[in-house]
Subunit: 189 residues, 2 copies
């Protein structure tokens, strides 16, 4: 029998990435789009903990919830925890403009993933991928800032990769695999 | 006897602007710097309401608290409710870079001000000033994005003005005056 798990997210792309990873471990993922007020906080872990607490009031089964951000070193970590708002307003074109003429294009994506069990116990997993911001957008796959992020060890941007390829590198995939390792070590699956 | 009021803010510049306006009405303002978690929300009013609720748990006297943002039309309202984070990371230089080559430089500053009475009743006042983003920074006075914002009806940026001059135009001053008018109409001062 398959284990079932809820992923609280409004982002279909995130859901599909997570679904692919978890199905290899016999976990069937279900998307629940819940309107959770994200707090303004300086780090993803704090954001995701508060979101998890909000979601816990509504969801009556165990679930995962995550927050991710793109942190650009030359921009003091911008857009960071506000990546989704920044993407919606100035887009990746805005990021390219901000980095115009700047040599240091190093950046990383980071995910903080919370797993909340039926009783409310919460466990956090994180994943990070280092890379560079390209000088122009490349690719149409996936979502968000993927067309301008090239992970170290690849010549492709995340938007030039299939979900499976992106999952070899991505922050979210790393956090999910850390979560699965923990489930296995705890004999929960 | 002077009326006393607390302004919950970590921003000395905001405090000084408000102090100047309120003292004309015999209200003595006191700054309290409280670490309030700002929620991520789409509008200032929602942000300030939640901050007011947080602050109310701690402050045992009536107080005001506000949130302000710079909304740039060509950038879909960016940096908006996240102005303070955006200022800390990419600064006004970042905004100038984002607007490089863009003709429509219209923007507005907006303030949402909450007044919370001893019993917890909350009243919201707002103020808005329209203007343009200059093509270069001018002036050293005041704070935040003031060096690149020129209100309609003036040839100076907010950073080229004294506090008194800025208060003739500013969003914050307008919200404060709306607050004072209300106090007067309710015979609270």
């Amino acid at each position: 029998m398959k284990a079932k798990l809820i992923f609280v997210t409004g982002n279909r792309g995130k859901f599909l990435e997570a679904k692919k990873i978890l199905e290899d471990f016999g976990i069937e993922l279900e998307q629940v789009d819940l309107d959770v007020t994200e707090p303004q906080a300086d780090n993803l872990e704090e954001v995701v903990k508060k979101c998890a607490e909000e979601a816990f009031k509504v969801i009556k089964r165990s679930f995962i919830i995550e927050d991710s951000g793109l942190f650009i070193n030359a921009l003091n970590g911008f857009p960071g925890v506000y990546s989704s708002y920044v993407y919606k307003t100035i887009g990746y074109e805005g990021i390219l403009k901000l980095l115009f003429g700047i040599v240091d294009r190093s950046a990383y994506f980071m995910t903080s993933l919370a797993y909340v069990e039926l009783g409310g116990e919460l466990k956090i997993f994180s994943g990070r991928v280092d890379g560079v911001i390209t000088t122009e957008a490349r690719g149409k796959n996936n979502f968000g800032f993927d067309p301008i992020f090239k992970p170290l060890g690849s010549n492709l941007t995340f938007a030039e990769m299939s979900i499976e390829e992106k999952n070899k590198f991505s922050h979210r995939a790393k956090a999910l695999r850390a979560f699965v390792s923990w489930l296995l070590s705890e004999k929960k699956i």
